[in-house]
């Protein structure tokens, strides 16, 4: 089901999900690649990334009624869940399926064709994110947190144990270096 006309904001789609479930499909389509790319960046394994993506969106769906636009963009909220999923998985050594079981979702089987599509995304992701690995760790963390995860500077500063202004400088420097690198590649 499509949503013709003026594109709706993520927040509106989130609210609409409560009455029109297809709206969540639209949200999924909008953010699937970014979330997958995020997990690919950390896991580098298509099936694990797909598994984490599925659990992340399931958790988002289960708590979509609690999303509060005043607290930030939906994408940032989604990445908050993604970070949490990743952290839990790393901590426990496995990808959990609590949200999917709670929603009664069927197991998602990732076939070869899907793996291939995700690997393609991984290769694209590598073109964009590869140079990220060449940045120094403090700068990479700042860029990754701000650009990929869309975290607030204040939050980043607290988690990185440095000032907001320093985080801003690191993000700025990191992006400049990435731009330089991409221009050379092109």
């Amino acid at each position: 089901m499509g949503f013709p006309g003026r594109p709706q904001t993520d927040a509106k789609l989130a609210l609409k999900t409560l009455t029109e479930p297809a709206a969540f499909g639209e949200l999924y389509r909008r953010h699937e690649q970014t979330v997958l790319a995020y997990f690919l960046h950390w896991s580098a394994t298509p099936d694990v990334a797909a598994d984490l993506t599925a659990e992340t969106f399931a958790a988002a769906l289960a708590s979509i009624g609690g999303y509060d636009q005043a607290r930030g963009e939906l994408r940032a909220w989604l990445f908050g869940i993604a970070r949490h999923m990743l952290a839990r998985s790393l901590e426990r050594g496995r990808v959990e399926d609590i949200a999917r079981r709670r929603l009664g979702m069927a197991t998602i089987y990732v076939d070869d064709e899907t793996i291939e599509r995700i690997e393609t995304l991984a290769s694209l992701d590598g073109a964009v994110l590869g140079p990220l690995d060449e940045l120094s760790e403090p700068i990479r963390e700042a860029v990754s947190g701000r650009v990929l995860e869309e975290r607030e500077y204040r939050e980043l500063a607290a988690s990185l144990a440095c000032s907001e202004s320093l985080v801003r400088q690191r993000v700025k420097r990191g992006l400049a270096r990435l731009r330089e690198r991409l221009e050379k590649v092109q």
Binding site: T17, Y28, I98, A106, R154, E155, S163
Partner: protein, 505 residues
């Protein structure tokens, strides 16, 4: 085109199961076609239900009939089905039906009626008697069931003040001589989690809902009856059964009532979700697993004939209480501090459901997961601790444990522990870091029992610093991670615990 199309399809299907529920007071202009279709499906519920029962009870006859059309034709007469004519959508009872119900249910004064509804030929009233809510269903002058809840009206009223409910499952048999209560085998983990979940989904107290469903027997037939309180913001309540049928409740004067044929039938009459419509939209929450009812149980013929004021009833919820030991050893759980002491950075704010904290009420999923066990959390008693770096902690006490949750500015993390641990060690944590005058500072914050006007923080350098404690709470910053913290536990014994590292409690 998505990369994982099967996931998209599964998510949409899950969203349909989770949220697609009719809204009783919805505006037709905002109703989707699918939504209206579901309302239509609900209206046909009795026929489908009794068809199913007939198929079960008369499988042999069905095989002989060899045609489903025959079965439907037989059932459509409704002559053999109990609760024939019952409807999933209630209507207002006529004045004469209401008067008859009040008389049949024990001469209920009109002033004591909380809510009334009609479902086909049945009239149901909810009323108060001897400070307890009652729910009575009649057909004409014949009483089908007349149920009283176990808890007084004031217990239900406390739900609207923000109490989180916990399951207390009892079964009471009919007949004064044989009356007994027993605890049923009830999985309780889900309800605790569900209660937290549904509470957190409503940011405003006026949107709170208490769900209580009783399984009742009327002769050989069973029914499910739901009664409870709803906040002033609740516009509609709909119960979703395991078989997908939807039962719209009547919401009146802060109460709701509903009933439907059948009880605790796996995959059938069991209510699995409740959808609540408020001014801010609709939210659907899972209900706890139903209590098990002994299917061989029959209402005794003597002493409990239909029309008598006795039935089997199974209340599902009661408000929780915070462990007495917590309030005994933590003044913060006894006192009612000012709504807001200070908004200055690094000051301590202790709030009890002020408009500020209620408005921001959220228990993140991470906390809910960890509180799935029966900690008996009472979110209404949560205390705030502002840590000075933009992070606000909530300390949520319960009957069995205490949880902390970062609700503002943090990463949504949370942790829980048993009451005994809290009494012994308090809750001390690294609250992150602050950047003060160009220098990064380590933030230490937390809660310690009564008898600690100050705590002593030991630094790596060998020096120590005294930190004042207010309402059991403290926060302070240091140039680096301190070595340990000394304070007195709830028994008055001096304890020295290592200072936690980042994200440690």
């Amino acid at each position: 085109m998505t990369l994982i199309p099967t996931l998209e399809r599964e998510l949409i299907a899950a969203a349909e199961r989770e949220y697609l529920t009719p809204v009783a007071t919805g505006d037709a202009s905002t109703s989707s076609p699918r939504w209206r279709a579901d309302l239509g499906a609900a209206a046909h519920r009795p026929r489908r239900r009794w068809l199913r029962r007939w198929l079960v009870l008369s499988a042999g006859a069905l095989a002989l009939a060899a045609a489903a059309g025959v079965a439907v034709a037989l059932l459509s007469t409704g002559t053999t089905a109990a609760f024939a004519g019952w409807t999933a959508t209630p209507s207002a009872p006529t004045a004469s039906a209401l008067a008859a119900a009040r008389t049949a249910c024990g001469s209920v004064p009109s002033a004591d009626v909380l809510a009334a509804e009609a479902r086909g030929p049945y009239t149901a009233i909810a009323f108060t008697r001897a400070d307890k809510p009652w729910q009575c269903v009649v057909k004409g002058s014949h009483v089908v069931v007349n149920l009283s809840t176990r808890y007084p009206v004031r217990a239900y009223a406390s739900v609207l003040s923000g109490k989180v409910m916990l399951p207390v499952i009892t079964q009471k048999t009919c007949g004064s001589a044989a009356a007994r209560e027993r605890t049923l085998d009830q999985p309780d983990a889900d309800l605790t989690q569900d209660s937290a979940s549904s509470f957190s989904s409503y940011a405003k107290r006026e949107d709170a809902l208490q769900a209580e469903i009783a399984a009742a027997a009327s002769g050989p037939d069973t029914l499910s009856a739901a009664i409870g309180v709803a906040g002033s913001g609740v516009r509609a309540v709909t119960f979703v059964l395991a078989d997908g049928d939807r039962i719209q409740a009547t919401v009146e004067h802060g109460w709701y009532v509903a009933w439907w044929p059948g009880a605790s039938k796996p995959g059938g009459a069991t209510a699995v979700r409740v959808a609540v419509t408020t001014s801010s939209g609709m939210h659907s929450s899972p209900l706890p697993a139903p209590p098990k009812i002994d299917v061989s149980y029959q209402v005794p013929a003597k002493g409990c004939v239909p029309g008598d004021r006795c039935s089997v009833f199974v209340p599902l919820a009661v408000t929780s209480t915070v462990a007495k030991s917590l309030s005994a050893h933590f003044s913060m759980f006894r006192d009612t501090p000012p709504a807001q002491q200070s908004s200055e950075p690094r000051s301590v704010r202790l709030l009890i459901n002020s408009s500020e904290s209620t408005g921001a009420f959220r228990i993140r999923e991470s906390v809910q997961m960890q509180t799935g066990t029966s900690l008996g959390l009472d979110a209404a008693q949560a205390r705030d601790l502002y840590l000075g770096n933009g992070t606000t902690l909530w300390l949520i006490p319960g009957s069995e444990g205490v949880c902390r949750a970062e609700v503002e500015g943090g990463n949504g993390a949370g942790s829980c522990g048993p009451v005994s641990s809290f009494l012994r060690h308090g809750a001390i944590e690294n609250a992150g870091f602050a950047f003060v005058h160009g220098v990064t500072r380590y933030l230490l914050g937390g809660f310690v029992p009564d008898g600690n006007p100050t705590i002593t923080v030991h630094l790596d350098s060998g020096a120590s610093r005294t930190v004042p404690v207010k309402h059991n709470a403290f926060t302070a910053s240091f140039p680096s991670q301190p070595k340990s913290v000394t304070f007195k536990d709830s028994a008055g014994k001096t304890v020295t615990d290592p200072a936690p590292g980042l994200n440690e409690v």
